[in-house]
Amino acid sequence: MTLIRQSAVMAAKDLRIEIRGRYALGAVLPFAGTLLIAFGLSLGPGRTLLQETAPGLLWLAVLFASVLSFRRSYESEGEDGALEGLLLAPMDKAAVFLGKAAAVAVQLLALEAVVVLLVAGLFGLSLGGAPAALAAAFLLGTIGLAAVGSLFGVLAESPRAREAVFPLLVLPLATPLLVAGVKATALATTGHGGEAGSWLGLLVAFDAVFLAAGTLVFGHLLED
């Protein structure tokens, strides 16, 4: 089996678990919604301020909610010795990483679609300006986020895992995603979609670095 086929099998397994468990629908999405309401309440009802901060709040909600998705993705491996089973399976360790990243990316994209609509409704963010640039920002940002989260999600499943360590590690590493994603979103929603190119380029660079790094070093995190 090639690496891509193995990754696809892995991703299909994770998505099947997700479809049966409906964790994203039942917990992650409501959490993102709660964050958005809290942001709105903390900034007050002024329309201009909310519109200006909407791209940032949108990405913050996605970033924080994604932490739950990564935890969930590895939680299921911690049960009933599933991780040992994965290690014994005749497949490349890189496929575990790529498959998990792909499965989480699909879930995050679905989550983002809803969150974007919520932000458009709650904060008055206009989506019509440059839909292609907006979609590209979310697609590229999600790939990078899925890569960094799936690489380190396995640490969250250690026997002595402390809840704070995973976000402490992932959120600073994901700073370029936050900056570039927010900037590209702000440009795309204010009719300057053409200027988002360099930010999208930065996202591509981040994705490439973390996909490559994850493929190379993920095996070291698993072997025991």
Binding site: L151, F152, L155, S158, P159, R160, A161, R162, A164, V165, L168, L169, L171, P172, L173, T175, P176, V179, A180, K183, S198, W199, L202, A205, F206, V209, F210, A213, V217, H220, L221, E223, D224
Partner: protein
């Protein structure tokens, strides 16, 4: 590939012997004293900033140590994953701890300097922001080191974080530089003049050199503490229970290496 790694390990072993450690400690004290005299007495006060500019002589060396330490963490992490020798993991751990200390120091000193000179404790300058994120990444690195129970697993996890964290830093810097430049034009320049007085430059170079010695000394100490920790742990787990810990620590002073896992 085996050649350079091997000779680097031998040099490391010599440097961390007790005698090398004492000599290094002495050199560090002399160099730091020289640096203090140069920067506080010999070097003239700055034309604009008066005595506040003297912070340069400890702020810049601290920032230099921050980047030096994390580069060492990166190299040691790669070397650990290649050789699986626990001494590389100890080096990465020691360097990361010293690095976090000096990163925090650089930020604190910069903040103290910024108040009289820029009129603010903090500005979202790309270099400041990158340094703050750098600090968070390596605090995360140290937190990961506390997670696993087995030393071998801890070493592997830490090495991966040490590699990925370092690779991420240029992207972080690029992103915050762009983020800032799209907001407003020129960033505040610390030293307006393009030239620096020869005496100030000399004091700065001595400061950098003495801080580098301090770094080597602290890492050396930390490496020995790491060896002792491992030895005490190994002794505690061995069948020779019942010996007082002091005896074990004395035994640990003997040359030699405990290898765990790998």
């Amino acid at each position: 590939m085996r050649g350079p790694v091997h000779s680097a390990e031998r040099a490391l072993g010599k440097l961390t012997a007790r005698r090398g450690e004492r000599v290094l400690g002495l050199l560090t004290v002399v160099a730091l004293s020289a640096s203090a005299i140069l920067s506080l007495i010999v070097s003239p006060p700055d034309a604009d900033q008066k005595n506040a500019a003297r912070l340069l002589y400890i702020h810049v060396p601290s920032a230099w140590l921050a980047y030096l330490s994390f580069a060492v963490v990166f190299v040691a992490s790669v070397a650990y994953l290649r050789t699986r020798k626990i001494r590389w993991d100890r080096l990465a751990a020691a360097s990361a701890e010293v690095g976090v200390l000096f990163t925090a120091l650089a930020i604190a000193l910069g903040s103290i300097w910024g108040k009289p000179v820029w009129g603010t404790w903090w500005t979202w300058d790309p270099r400041l922001t990158t340094t703050a994120i750098l600090l968070l990444i390596y605090v995360g690195y140290l937190a990961v080191r506390k997670l696993p129970d087995s030393p071998a697993r801890r070493a592997r996890w830490a090495a991966v974080v040490g590699i990925v964290g370092f690779v991420d830093v240029p992207i972080v810097h690029l992103s915050v530089t762009w983020w800032r430049s799209l907001h407003q034009g020129a960033t505040i320049r610390l030293l307006g003049r393009s030239t620096i007085a020869p005496m100030m430059l000399a004091a700065l170079l001595v400061g950098v050199a003495s801080f580098t010695l301090l770094y080597l000394y602290l890492v050396t100490l930390r490496l020995r503490v790491g060896r002792l920790e491992e030895r005490v742990m190994a002794e505690a787990l061995s069948p020779r229970l019942g010996q007082p810990v002091e005896m074990l620590v004395e035994q640990a002073d003997e040359p030699g290496e405990v290898t765990v896992g790998g």
